[in-house]
Symmetry: C2
Subunit: 267 residues, 2 copies
């Protein structure tokens, strides 16, 4: 463990932490930011992504011993005072715990499909462009033991800082892959023995009446528009029983309810 005190906000070693919010918008050239103790713990425990460094507020270091013990040998741990840390980040960094990770090349959906276990529960997302919703869906996927999340290319980035934070690290844990065409992916899933199920407020079957299969793929679309009609026309559609005169559930809440139903018997 290599503790390094940082006194100068412009120290090049902490450059990846500078101007965090502005950098959210322009991108980080293959890196991502993990925030907070729980997320750091997931990042280090699962080790799905390489970690480049950690930046900690000086008074938070003591409470982090058990987490930092999981770090790979030689990982630089930068320690800064409150004022230096806030200057680096460009705004008050209340959490005081940051890490920079490195993205891996995004695996193709077909490759990820081949790695799934015989009994599998997966989530397929089409057009989820809100980081809160995406992070929450990942959190639910991790909580209910989903094996993977597949995102079409109109979904937002699961490794965006806010998405990781809202997911409490699940975006760093649950394997994910991107795909271009939902209809094509569905055909692949069917060929691999998946029951493909579309969650939709106007679904034909009440979800409670559908028993989880050995391999289930749950499709969720954006709020408002929902899943594209050409996709819905080819799939079994499920509705979650609810009051008729109220706006439907938020998509993240719907994912929690559906994942709970389809993970029955898995724990």
């Amino acid at each position: 463990m290599q503790i390094v005190n940082i006194d100068d906000p412009n120290d090049p070693r902490v450059a990846p932490y500078q101007d965090i919010r502005e950098r959210d918008l322009v991108g980080r050239q293959g890196r991502f930011i993990a925030e907070g103790k729980v997320v750091l713990d997931v990042l280090l425990s699962t080790a799905r992504f390489p970690v480049e460094s950690i930046l900690v507020l000086e008074n938070r270091l003591t409470g982090l011993d058990a987490v930092i013990a999981k770090a790979p040998p030689g990982l630089p741990i930068y320690v800064a005072s409150r004022s230096v840390m806030d200057s680096i980040a460009g705004f008050p960094m209340h959490r005081g715990i940051l890490a920079v990770g490195r993205r891996r090349e995004l695996q193709g959906a077909e490759h990820l499909l081949d790695t799934l276990p015989e009994c599998a529960l997966i989530v397929v997302l089409v057009g989820i462009s809100n980081h809160d919703n995406l992070g929450s869906i990942f959190r639910n996927a991790a909580a209910f033991g989903a094996d993977a999340v597949f995102l079409d290319t109109t979904c937002c980035d699961p490794l965006y800082r806010k998405a990781i934070r809202v997911s409490v690290g699940a975006a760093l844990k649950v394997p994910f892959a991107s795909f271009p065409d939902p209809v094509h992916l569905m055909a692949e899933l069917v060929a691999k023995g998946f029951d493909c199920l579309a969650l939709s407020p106007n679904g034909d079957s009440e979800m409670r009446d559908v028993r989880p299969a050995k391999r289930s793929a749950l499709f969720f679309g954006t709020e408002g528009e929902g899943l594209p009609p050409p996709l819905l026309a080819r799939m079994q559609t499920l509705r979650i029983g609810m009051v008729r005169d109220f706006d439907s559930l938020n998509v993240a809440a719907a994912s929690a309810v559906a994942l709970h139903h389809f993970s029955a018997g898995r724990f």
Copy 2:
């Protein structure tokens, strides 16, 4: 319907809409702000709260006909240009649809309890201090037909602007009441024939194994701390089956899963 054009951001008639964000913090002296078409529709349709006025961006008025038709006769509908509206609000008001409602005196929990139907599903919240979570819980409560939400005095305000928005108006629809002491409320609920069930990651029973009673009260505590131990010690505790090594569900997601389970057979 009384359409009034507003040209001056300082027109006293739109004073309740001024400096929206600052006013969020200091309070609105018995008023609340509803934002967006869906929320306005709920506000006017349910008519649980009196509406004082509506403020609409000029180019949004046409699309609002069906909603505004539900307004009480004589309700002032203020119409402003983009620049006047942004000046009033103090920031860019993308939605362009606002209304001011008047709070009613908060009813006591005992009074609300007396109004509940014979078959009832209610939500009891202790220490939910995050407006996103509170709004989401209200949305789930409305979607699954909960009859009421009870909040202890450490919960945040359901009529805070963001809570109403996140609830997509459910905070204006589902009756709620405040109570000081959860143990005391629980005793009252038991006396009125409610099964009182505490959702907790370490609950004794798996939720799936518990059949909904005629009257069920679902208790949720804050994330992290959870429900207070003296309360848990007196209640049946339920866990939602999930992966053991991951951080538990967000409390709003847990409320969706539990409300779905306990609303079985209600629709």
